[in-house]
């Protein structure tokens, strides 16, 4: 199982960024192998529209089964849902804290977008 975290950092000590579509990048953490993989999302910072859609496509193609972020809008959520990716909202400071919360089962799965588009 692979979890994608939103961040502008390079490792699991980095800060969890609450943005999804226009976040600088993702760290995909593999729960089985404990390996991390950094994925660049900078192409979306200047997207005219649909940044969330493109970001969702990126993490799905990277094999993520779960997304841990701050906020997720309706279009991104629709894509993630279509691919069966579970979305969790977290206010944790670091990716490590967010991962701990995920493992302990305290993160609540979102069943709908928690913000509007362009919030």
């Amino acid at each position: 199982m692979k979890i994608a975290f939103t961040t502008s950092g390079k490792d699991m000590e980095a800060t969890l960024d609450p943005r999804f579509g226009r976040v600088a990048g993702f760290i995909v953490y593999d729960l089985e192998t404990l390996e991390t993989k950094l994925i660049d999302n900078s192409q979306n910072s200047g997207a005219v529209q649909g940044a969330g859609i493109n970001a969702a496509e990126t993490i799905i193609r990277a094999g993520a089964n779960c997304l841990v972020t701050g906020n997720c809008g309706p279009k991104a959520f629709r894509v993630l849902q279509a691919a069966g990716v579970k979305v969790y909202s977290s206010e944790a400071q670091s990716l490590t804290d967010a991962l701990d919360a995920f493992r302990s089962g305290t993160l609540v799965e979102m069943n709908t977008a928690n913000v509007k588009g362009h919030w």
Partner: protein
């Protein structure tokens, strides 16, 4: 001759100028309301609707049996209107700009185009004015496509006045492209000046000759005038901040219908704009306004 009325700032009086110019032109004229998200020329023009055309755009639809989920279509789409992850793409029609690129890049011919309604175009006859207005459907974002359709319906053999949307974004660019002259309407306030400067940058980029109309004279300051003087931009007309004009406007009356003293001023303006267009190397860039606000031709110094 095609003239567009634009502004930068909203609420400066584009529609007022467009309608009053059209009503005062002696010959047949087309007035085209390109502010398809909030058309309002119709508030001042009452006539017979001759046609309502539904405007559609071709949107992609997937033949799933042919799709192998390769993702070429969504990789191509600059507007992120498709997302692909193994299976057939998820489509977001509201983001689609109907370029047809996804259909072209699909090697398996799995994408067909299906018409989707974006709005309507009304044709209305008001005396000698042929009035066209585009009305974008609520929730639709393709204003540019509707403006382009409006301009396709325009008869090039008749003088045309385009009422542009406010601002300097894509629908405004679509309105201004191909016109012969732009009237920029502003007000003498810091907001008016700021947005006028943006509009001036736009029309210069498009290389279209232009002049300025200052509405609501009496409020604000002189900075719009100083800017125009410094940049040698002609101020073609000034309209005072007159409560009676606002009252007439609120009842759907045009200035020229209520205040005959404005008839001549609009007539002079429209005559000078359209008459000059008939001179081959004249063009409207030769018009300047002197200190008292009269228009004169810089070639022969004649007051128009």
């Amino acid at each position: 001759m095609k003239i567009a009325i634009a502004s930068g700032k909203g609420g400066t009086g584009k529609t007022t100028i467009a309608v009053n110019l059209a009503k005062n032109l002696a010959q047949q004229v087309q007035l085209v309301d390109c502010d398809v998200e909030e058309p309002n020329c119709h508030l001042f023009l009452h006539g017979d609707k001759t046609e309502t055309e539904v405007v559609n755009l071709p949107m992609p639809e997937i033949i799933t049996s042919r799709c192998d989920g390769c993702g070429e279509c969504s990789d191509f789409c600059e507007f992120n209107a498709l997302a692909t992850f193994g299976g057939p793409p998820v489509i977001f029609p509201e983001l689609c700009h109907a370029c047809g690129g996804c259909r072209i890049v699909c090697t398996r011919k799995a994408i067909v185009e299906v018409d989707k309604r974006i709005g309507i175009i009304d044709s209305i006859n008001v005396d000698k004015i042929t009035f066209l207005q585009g009305v974008l459907d609520i929730g639709v974002q393709s204003a540019v496509a509707l403006v382009d359709k409006l301009k396709q319906k325009n008869d090039p053999s008749i003088h045309t006045i385009f009422d542009a949307p406010p601002g300097t974004s894509c629908p405004v660019v679509a309105t201004l492209q191909g016109v012969d002259y732009v009237l920029l309407v502003t007000e003498p306030t810091p907001f008016g000046l700021n947005d006028l400067k943006l509009a001036v940058l736009l029309v210069r980029e498009l290389k279209i000759p232009f002049g300025v109309i200052v509405n609501r004279m009496g409020i604000g300051d002189r900075r719009v005038h100083e800017f125009c003087e410094k940049d040698a931009i002609p101020i073609l007309m000034e309209i005072p901040d007159d409560r009676r004009i606002a009252e007439a406007y609120s009842k759907g009356h045009s200035i020229v219908d209520v205040f005959p003293e404005y008839q001549n001023r609009f007539k002079e303006l429209s005559d000078s704009l359209f008459k000059n267009s008939d001179k081959k190397n004249g063009g409207n860039s030769v018009l300047r306004s002197n200190k008292s606000g009269d228009l004169y031709n810089i070639k022969d110094q004649s007051i128009v």
